[in-house]
């Protein structure tokens, strides 16, 4: 294996120092001369250099890159309390996130309607945790605030981007045109 390039080493240092995923833009700004293609190549080289040989790996996550520990060490690390598992999301929070992720930008009214219950408290909590945010205002009556997901949403789910979400057609309950219903007896 050839020794890592100076650019790869620089990126490695930056990714090590950061405690969050760094986007391609952020990484490219470290060495403006290099150009995006070179940064991508260096990242790919780093990723394969870490390969299976190390306890951490370079992961593409939340529209950026981050060093993360390998899964097999999760239990040991947690037991030793060197790091804490993030708090689990409640079923109500996941449900609301699912609706917002697929319908964004979406207003509170629509979320309530799909869930069939009032979702104000759940949405406030998600905003507070930085998983959703107001992205724009709707056209309708009172120009309601419309919400969308944030990079933190991708981060806690370990997604590269929204494309990583399953496509609605792949679900077992695919939503098609209104299904015809039998005549009443």
């Amino acid at each position: 294996m050839q020794p890592p390039s100076p650019l790869a080493k620089l990126l490695e240092a930056a990714l090590f120092a950061a405690s969050r995923p760094l986007t391609l833009d952020e990484l490219a700004s470290l060495e403006p001369e290099a150009g995006e293609a070179a940064v991508r190549a260096a990242l790919a080289a780093l990723q394969s250099a870490y390969g299976d040989e190390h306890g951490v790996e370079l992961v593409e996550i939340a529209e950026g890159w981050q060093f993360l520990t390998r899964r097999e060490y999760a239990e040991t690390i947690e037991r030793a309390q060197f790091a804490l598992r993030p708090r689990r999301l409640s079923p109500a929070a996941l449900e609301t996130l699912a609706i917002i992720a697929y319908r964004q930008p979406v207003g509170r009214l629509e979320v309530d309607e799909i869930r069939g219950v009032d979702s104000d408290a759940v949405m406030d909590k998600l905003v507070e945790r930085g998983l959703i945010e107001v992205v724009t205002r709707g056209e309708g009556l009172g120009r309601p605030l419309l919400y969308g997901t944030t990079p933190s949403f991708l981060e806690i789910l370990g997604l590269k981007d929204l494309e990583d979400l399953p496509r609605l057609e792949e679900l077992s309950v695919a939503l098609r045109r209104p299904t015809p219903v039998d005549e009443p007896e």
């Binding site: 090590f16 120092a17 950061a18 405690s19 969050r20 995923p21 992961v59 981050q66 060093f67 993360l68 520990t69 390998r70 899964r71 999760a74 690390i77 060197f82 790091a83 804490l84 598992r85 993030p86 708090r87 689990r88 999301l89 079923p91 996941l94 449900e95 996130l97 699912a98 609706i99 992720a101 697929y102 799909i114 869930r115 069939g116 219950v117 009032d118 909590k125 507070e128 945790r129 981060e155 806690i156 789910l157 370990g158 997604l159 979400l165 399953p166 609605l168 679900l171 077992s172 309950v173 695919a174 939503l175 209104p178 299904t179 015809p180 219903v181 009443p184």
Partner: protein, 195 residues
């Protein structure tokens, strides 16, 4: 019932009831055969149920994704934001009073000790002993206090004895541990009358 559920839930409930009634009414009304415009009113309901089922499936997927993500740690542990403070208590005066009563009931009955002043009469005892000393060279404890003395008398006599022994007016001795106390006039001291 509406008050108990809260108005929002009640409104949702009434809306659903109205929707179902409307669907039923539409199904019962006669319509022209072969009418193209007619759409089964239940279709909307079915669509919404399917849509919700789809969301449930996505919830499972998102939950699994979050679990998998949680198995990898990044650098720098950041404490998760603290939970919101608990909601303000919603109680009325009766609840408060009832709670206060429960707390008061738990307080144990206080142990009261009545403290009675019992003045010691050391001077009186001293006088009595001095009198005995002038009459006899040697005498016992019971000669001072008598067979049925109160604790105050005993204490007064004892303190007086110790005080007199300190002044070398008398000596105290016991033949054996817990034996009867023998009180003797001090030999060295000249009789009081001679002083």
């Amino acid at each position: 019932m509406i008050n108990e559920l809260g108005l929002n839930q009640a409104a949702d409930y009434l809306e659903m009831a109205a929707r179902l009634l409307r669907i039923k009414a539409q199904l019962l009304l006669p319509r022209h055969l072969g009418e193209d415009e007619w759409e089964d009113p239940r279709a909307e309901l079915v669509r919404r149920l399917l849509e919700y089922q789809q969301i449930r499936e996505l919830v499972d997927w998102l939950g699994r994704a979050a679990e998998l993500r949680a198995e990898r740690y990044g650098r720098g542990y950041e404490a998760p934001p603290a939970d919101a403070p608990p909601a303000p208590l919603q109680i009325d005066l009766n609840d408060l009073l009832a709670a206060a009563e429960r707390v008061i009931a738990l307080i144990p009955e206080p142990m009261l000790h009545r403290v009675v002043p019992r003045p010691l009469d050391v001077e009186g005892a001293t006088e009595r002993i001095t009198t005995l000393l002038s009459e006899r060279d040697e005498f016992g404890w019971l000669d001072i206090v008598g067979p049925q003395s109160s604790i105050v008398d005993v204490l007064s006599a004892f303190i007086a004895l110790l005080e007199l022994a300190k002044r070398s007016s008398l000596t105290l001795s016991q033949a054996e541990p817990f034996g009867p106390m023998v009180i003797k006039r001090a030999a060295a001291q000249p009789p009081r009358e001679a002083a």
